[in-house]
């Protein structure tokens, strides 16, 4: 049990997917201008990653492994993710307009969010059992959301700051990311 808690906290803080693995940079630079958007995007990502992780994990061990088709993993996973995102979008559109309006615009972006594919592949590479897989698939996107939110609050202030022309926009955002990476690395002393 304690190892599951460690896995959870480690993947939110010191092994944060954005700041140590650099994944999910595109949405970080693209969507992070408003903090309310950051939360919406973060929740959508947690939902998609968790569901597609469970789906791909079961598919891999119950279909691909018995058939000895492990080399089809990449194609299967990416298609499952793309189809799943599409499905969620359709269901939301039909049954919950409010939620669709809130999350809808982020959904197409999620297919190309490398965090999703990374988590599904990593579940297999790291040889997780079912419980570890579930914890990992919640922890990683939660770490993504935490960084996305903090980042967006800093960027809201950056809009108003004076800086050299050349650093306006993304370059200064990357400097912020560098400083956040330094801060998050120091969480490593927790254990």
């Amino acid at each position: 049990m304690s190892s599951l808690i460690t896995l959870f906290i480690a993947n939110i803080l010191m092994s944060n997917v954005v700041l140590t693995k650099f994944l999910g940079m595109c949405p970080l630079l693209g969507v992070s201008r408003k903090s309310s958007d950051a939360i919406g995007m973060g929740l959508a990502v947690i939902f998609v990653i968790f569901s597609s992780s469970v789906l791909t994990y079961l598919l891999y061990y119950n279909v691909l492994v018995p058939l000895e088709l492990q080399y089809m993993d990449l194609i299967t996973f990416i298609l499952v993710i793309a189809a799943f995102v599409q499905l969620v979008e359709m269901i939301l559109k039909k049954y919950s307009i409010g939620l669709y309006k809130a999350l809808g615009i982020y959904l197409p972006l999620i297919t190309t969010n490398c965090v999703v594919l990374y988590v599904t592949l990593d579940n297999i590479i790291k040889g997780f059992d079912f419980a570890e897989m579930m914890v990992y698939s919640i922890a990683v996107p939660t770490g993504f959301m935490v960084v996305l939110y903090i980042f967006s609050t800093i960027r809201e202030r950056l809009e108003l700051s004076k800086m050299p022309e050349a650093f306006k926009g993304n370059p200064i955002a990357l400097v912020v990311a560098a400083l956040m990476a330094a801060v998050f690395t120091s969480f490593a002393g927790l254990f």
């Binding site: 594919l117 200064i172 560098a178």
Partner: protein, 212 residues
């Protein structure tokens, strides 16, 4: 000479990595050494060129509604093949790049060029587009990894990925003055920020020149 200068300038100002922010996840992650940068760059170059050729070849028979899944299947097949080949013939590279090889599938440059260029142009033009874009990507990786490797290790070195033999190794900075932090995530972000700012400065300068 002037045309070459223009080409160099466009390589900088329209750079897919530092100018358009495409494929930056892998750029930040794997540019810790020149070996990794070249391995990744050449893999992407090859996949991008071949995927552009195939997508261009099937563009007239691909139904429009399912073109994105079709592109994804084509790209994923190529990426998985490259992954298996690297695992078999360049295990050192596989060890260093790890999960970032399969993640080439979601590298926005490849799907981006498929959608924006290869699906509308002939085979020859698409192949050329893939080569140019792949080259620009490789050069960006090489630039960034050289900076990080020199600052962090004080050495610029290149190893043959197929047998791990050293091709060259240049000591540049004495051991006492090396900045190990450039191997760390913070160094990756900082180097990228400075290069992106440089590209933005060039763009601003160009825009000003055009106004005059």
């Amino acid at each position: 000479m002037k045309a070459f200068g223009k080409f160099l300038l466009s390589l900088l100002s329209e750079n897919p990595v530092f100018g358009l922010y495409l494929g930056i996840c892998s750029t930040l992650a794997i540019t810790t050494s020149l070996d990794n940068a070249l391995g990744m760059g050449i893999s992407v170059l090859a996949i991008l060129t071949v995927s552009n050729i195939i997508i261009s070849a099937v563009r007239n028979i691909t139904p429009d509604e399912i073109r994105i899944p079709v592109y994804i299947v084509i790209i994923a097949t190529l990426v998985k093949s490259v992954e298996l080949l690297i695992k078999a013939y360049a295990p050192a590279l596989d060890q260093a790049l790890g999960v970032f090889i399969p993640l080439i599938v979601v590298n926005c440059i490849i799907l981006g060029r498929a959608e924006a260029f290869a699906s509308k142009n002939g085979i020859g033009a698409s192949a050329l587009d893939g080569l140019t874009m792949g080259l620009a990507y490789t050069l960006s990786l090489v630039a960034m990894s050289s900076i990080r490797q020199i600052l962090a290790d004080g050495i610029l070195s290149l190893n043959n990925p197929f047998n791990s033999q050293t091709i060259f190794s240049l000591p540049i900075i004495p051991a006492a003055y090396r900045i190990a932090i450039f191997k760390e995530p913070i160094g990756a972000f900082l180097t990228f920020a400075l290069l992106a700012a440089a590209v933005q400065a060039i763009r601003n300068w160009q825009a000003k020149k055009e106004v005059k």
